[in-house]
């Protein structure tokens, strides 16, 4: 029986292959949409995992999250320096770390912060953290090792090649991989950023850094108290972790006001996922429409093929073949081609999502988990069931002609 199917497929292999490929592409389309959307969602959610609450000056919440969690460069307004001091004293706060952006080194963002964030991001994998202002810790994807030195560039001026000549950092440690854009970041003490931009405590909070370029005293020890000082310079964002979940909600509420805005990156992402979900729905509808079209085309081809062979099939019955076996054979042949197409499509869709994700990962640092979920099984089973059901039609047609009619010719 199987040999007959195989003999038949061998005879008509170019057609069978073409049909299987078409089915594979239609399946892959749907699979890629599903996997890629999931990868974007889970990747961004996991990248934001270390950031429970972000506090910034009142402005776009979305921009605040994009800049702090995803290190997307954008000018953010500064918050009064006192906010940090207040947070440091708040009993609900487990840890809070300021972050200051603006500099870069060969395209890797240089971010000023404190040791709290290093621990919050998962700690040091190799080397050690900040001890002096000239120390730096690099993300897992930054191609530098402890002992390397560099001069950062002011990001907005990088094109003009303005280097903080007086500023030299020495890499002391490498962060554990986080699967987030922070893997591409270089972390330095925020005091060092203030010093090299001439933003010492107490004066010129929002001044134009270029005109106040200061020299960095690389050997000065890091002083955690300086960050929490009431007259500390302003920062664009502070990352906060509450002791409990209720604390996190309370802090979010407390720091939403005239002076600052507090937001869970998760809530911004959740809003984004709503939009992403809508996009996925549209793309899925397109994919399903494509699949339906392909199913129709395949059905047509199968019907033509079977109609052509109806006489042969009727004759086989006349000569003693069993009707049920013939039905099974025609069904099996069509279903086999369709199942092969669906299986190939799953692989193809996975591969496409992997390739797309690898590109996004390389560009953003956000790890993209391309993974199947239990719900995909339903999708695949649905496709297979649809294919199996469609294959019934040619099988039933093959059945239709009576053996007498088939022999009459």
């Amino acid at each position: 029986m199987l040999r007959f199917i195989l003999a038949d497929l061998r005879r008509a292999w170019p057609g069978a292959l073409a049909i299987a490929l078409i089915i594979a592409f239609a399946t892959a389309l749907g699979i890629t949409v599903t996997l890629q959307e999931r990868a974007l969602r889970l990747g961004s959610a996991r990248a934001a995992d270390a950031f429970d609450l972000v506090i910034g000056a009142p402005a776009s919440e979305t921009q605040l999250v994009l800049s702090s969690v995803f290190l997307q460069p954008a000018p953010l307004p500064l918050m009064p320096g006192a906010v940090m001091g207040e947070l440091a004293a708040d009993p609900r706060v487990a840890w809070a770390a300021p972050i200051g952006f603006g500099d870069a080194h060969e395209g890797w963002p240089v971010v000023g912060t404190t040791g709290a964030l290093i621990d919050g991001l998962g700690g040091i994998a190799k080397g050690q953290g900040f001890a002096r202002l000239g120390d730096a810790v690099v993300g897992a994807r930054v191609p530098m090792a402890p002992g390397d030195t560099f001069h950062p560039v002011h990001a907005e001026l990088a094109a003009e090649g303005e280097v903080h000549q007086g500023t030299t950092y020495t890499v002391r440690g490498v962060l554990s991989p986080t699967g987030s854009p922070w893997d591409r970041a270089i972390l330095v003490p925020i005091e060092a950023v203030w010093q090299s931009h001439g933003m010492e405590a107490g004066h010129d909070k929002e001044g134009d850094a270029r005109h106040h370029e200061g020299a960095l005293d690389a050997d000065q020890p890091v002083n955690p108290a300086a960050v929490a000082a009431p007259n500390a310079p302003g920062v664009p964002a502070i990352v906060v972790r509450g002791h409990t979940i209720a604390d996190a909600y309370n802090l979010r509420q407390h720091y939403r006001g005239d002076r600052s805005v507090a937001v869970f990156p998760a809530e911004v992402l959740t809003r984004l996922y709503g939009t992403l979900g809508d996009a996925r729905s549209v793309l899925s509808a397109v994919a399903i429409a494509a699949q339906a079209l392909v199913a129709a085309a395949v059905l047509l081809v199968a019907l033509l093929h079977v109609t052509q062979r109806q006489r042969q099939i009727g004759a086989l019955r006349a000569f003693g073949a069993s009707r049920g076996v013939i039905f099974l054979i025609v069904w099996g042949e069509v279903a086999l081609i369709a199942a092969a197409g669906v299986a190939a499509g799953i692989g193809l869709g996975w591969l496409a999502a992997r390739l797309i994700s690898a590109r996004i990962e390389a560009a953003s640092g956000v790890a993209m988990p391309v993974e199947f979920a239990a719900s995909d099984l339903g999708l695949v089973l649905g496709l297979l069931a649809a294919a199996g059901a469609c294959a019934l039609i040619p099988a039933a047609i093959a059945y239709r002609q009576s053996p007498a009619a088939a022999l009459r010719g």
């Binding site: 007959f4 005879r11 019955r317 000569f319 053996p403 007498a404």
Partner: protein, 221 residues
Amino acid sequence: MARLAIRNLVARFPGLDQPALDVPAFDLDAGARIALRGPSGSGKTTFLNMLTGLARVPEGHVTWDGIDLATLGEGARDRWRAANVGLVMQDFHLFPGLSALENVLLPRRLRWRGAEKGAREEALGLLRRTGVPRPDQPVETLSRGQSQRVAVARALLGRPAILVADEPTASLDAEAGAAVGALLTDLARETGATLVVATHDPELIERIGRVAHLTAGRLAA
């Protein structure tokens, strides 16, 4: 051995005033051989369809060894035919892409229980007996005479008790026709099968020996 008894068989087709077939009584002993002769459209094929269960018996009785085909449903007739009847048609109805041997075996293989043990050896023996030189030759490369020999081998596989042929030599040249006709009659004699052949071929009729005339659906011995 198969013995035939037909009673009050009437078959009509829509649009025809006269019945296409009207056979009040017709009997054949087991192992008998008979040629069915009649002009085109006289009802030969219709008659054979009734004999072999290819078509439903609309009225009357067609009884082979006590089994009345009129009482069998479509599936039961298919099973009965598969077990008892070997068929040879004017067109060979061979499956391209398969070898001569595979074609002989195909109807048997396409059953739930598959082909019997030894079917392959039997098929090879039949192909040798019918003079098909290369059993693994693809059928689309066979001559017409060879194709009909393969069809005869297929009909004889499993030693059916009933052998029915519908104008088996009509599409062959005289020489090939003579060879196929000889095979059919010889093999029917060898296996003791009851042989019914619809044909115009005088040589084949002579070879079979006994003839019944069919005119406008009515039989005359």
